[in-house]
């Protein structure tokens, strides 16, 4: 990565971290989902900076255009009546301690790893990805289709089952 790209990466990274923190901490569920949307967009930008343009656009497509909409949809269906749904009180701090420990450990390990900077990225990412999907990773690709189908059926069964 060049100097400008590194700077952009750090800048957007701060945005991502702050929005993720807000999404996790806020009591208003609507704000939480919106903040998640901002976080996902920031991560998409990070993917683009890392020269993974296809992943970046898929992230916007599936996450922001799909998952966030689904979440808003579920929120609105499950909070009928109250228009500013709040989450209840939360568990006290053992989880916080654990998260601090895991996060701190990971950060220390990353700082100590001393990995080299990545080299130049290939230009034709989409071609390479396509070859990979239908070549070496074909099994994973096919499996993904099965998983998606199973998820669709499961979601339908779970959501409709109660009504009868």
């Amino acid at each position: 990565m060049s100097g400008g790209q590194s700077m952009l990466f750090v800048l957007v990274g701060v945005v991502a971290a702050v929005s993720a923190l807000y999404a996790v901490l806020t009591r208003q569920i609507l704000r939480s989902i919106m903040s998640l949307g901002a976080f996902l967009t920031a991560v998409a930008v990070e993917f683009y900076v890392l020269a993974a343009d296809f992943v970046s656009v898929v992230q916007i497509f599936v996450y922001v255009g799909g998952v966030v909409v689904l979440m808003l949809f579920a929120l609105m269906l499950s909070a009928s009546g109250e228009r500013h749904p709040l989450a209840g009180a939360d568990r006290p701090g053992l989880g916080a301690v654990l998260a601090y420990l895991v996060g701190g450990g990971l950060v220390v390990a990353s700082l100590g790893a001393g990995l080299p900077e990545p080299g130049k990225a290939p230009a034709q990412t989409v071609d390479l990805l396509g070859r990979s999907f239908l070549g070496g990773q074909l099994f994973a690709f096919e499996l993904m289709g099965v998983v998606l189908l199973a998820a669709v059926v499961a979601a339908l069964v779970v959501a409709r089952g109660e009504r009868q």
Binding site: F54, V57, G65, G66, M76, R83, Q124
Partner: protein, 321 residues
């Protein structure tokens, strides 16, 4: 390009796109009202300026000076964010539209996918606007719009996959290059029809305008909006309509390819022809019912788009000889 130059170019293009969207909305609203007048055998707006040409300009001035009313119990942040999130993707999608060969902001590796992905964010905006208004009509409009968006996105994307198969690339310039001799409309007529119909659903236009449905939902998600925020919804609608028509031109009509005239002119002529087609449809057909609309998406368009994929494969074989 260096970082600063890229940034400057992006900022410039952003300003240009905003101007284009603003000007387009002004013109298209007037054109639409005139066309609807013709189709319904009346004259349309006639009083402001010669033949009513200044009608939308006057409307804009009025909208900008209007009071910004917000329902007392509305969620302030979501109420503000809603119109923004509907309008911004429409402007962003102009980044990959080739107005003639050199006039494209960024010829992304994944340009076609970008164009499909970015306007999808509009659904979030509509849902938020409907929810934040604290009004049952708006709420219903918001819910309907998101369900419709998610349903029609699938056949729409599959219709475009056919084109991508034939072009062998997601790059906008490569798609245009592949159509130098034969536009994909010839090879992919079903794909074109699918793209056009699902696009009508994506930009919420009749016969798919149930999120708005002025006669039953009192304009749906934007019932409670006024002044400039309301104008943003209009910008979004016409900006997205033009962008989607421009992309239909790119994907199926060969973009700026054509004899004699410069690419820019050809591009505009083809795009405006499609815009006219959508207006014609809007003022001719009645609106679908909500359940009919869903059935249409899942039981008609989805299978058809799969058939289209097979046809695209056959067309690939034909082209390859």
């Amino acid at each position: 390009m260096s970082g600063a130059a890229t940034f400057a170019w992006g900022a410039l293009w952003g300003a240009v796109s905003l101007t284009i969207v603003g000007a387009l909305t002004t013109v298209l609203v007037l054109v639409e009202r005139k066309i609807s007048g013709r189709i319904q055998m009346r004259v349309g707006p006639m009083h402001t300026g010669p033949h009513g040409l200044l009608q939308t300009v006057a409307d804009i001035v009025k909208l900008l000076f209007k009071e910004d009313v917000r329902p007392a119990r509305a969620d302030a942040m979501a109420f503000r964010l809603g119109p923004l999130l509907t309008a911004v993707p429409a402007v962003l999608s102009f980044a990959v539209i080739p107005f003639g060969a050199p006039l494209i902001m960024r010829d992304l590796n994944v340009g076609v996918l970008y164009f499909l992905a970015v306007p999808g964010v509009t659904a979030v905006g509509l849902l938020l606007a409907g929810w934040a208004s604290y009004d049952n009509y708006s709420f219903l409009g918001g819910l309907r719009s998101s369900a419709q968006f998610i349903s029609y996105e699938i056949p729409r994307t599959l219709a475009v996959v056919g084109v991508v198969m034939l072009a062998g690339s997601l790059r906008v310039s490569a798609v245009l290059e592949a159509q130098r001799t034969v536009p994909f409309l010839v090879l992919e007529p079903l794909g074109f029809v699918l793209y056009l119909v699902t696009t009508l659903a994506e930009v919420n236009r009749t016969p798919f305008d149930i999120p708005e449905a002025e006669s039953e939902l009192v304009a749906g998600y934007h019932t409670e909006y006024s002044g400039f925020r309301w104008a943003l919804f209009f910008l979004a609608e016409y900006g997205a309509l033009f962008a989607a028509s421009a992309f239909a031109t790119v994907l199926f009509l060969g973009g700026g390819n054509g004899p004699l005239l410069p690419a820019f002119v050809w591009f505009l002529v083809k795009t405006l022809a499609i815009v006219f087609l959508t207006m014609w449809i809007r003022w001719t057909l009645p609106r679908f019912r909500s359940d009919q609309l869903m059935r249409l998406a899942w039981k008609v368009f989805l299978p058809l788009s799969l058939v289209n994929l097979v046809l695209a494969g056959l067309a690939m074989q034909v082209v390859a000889g």
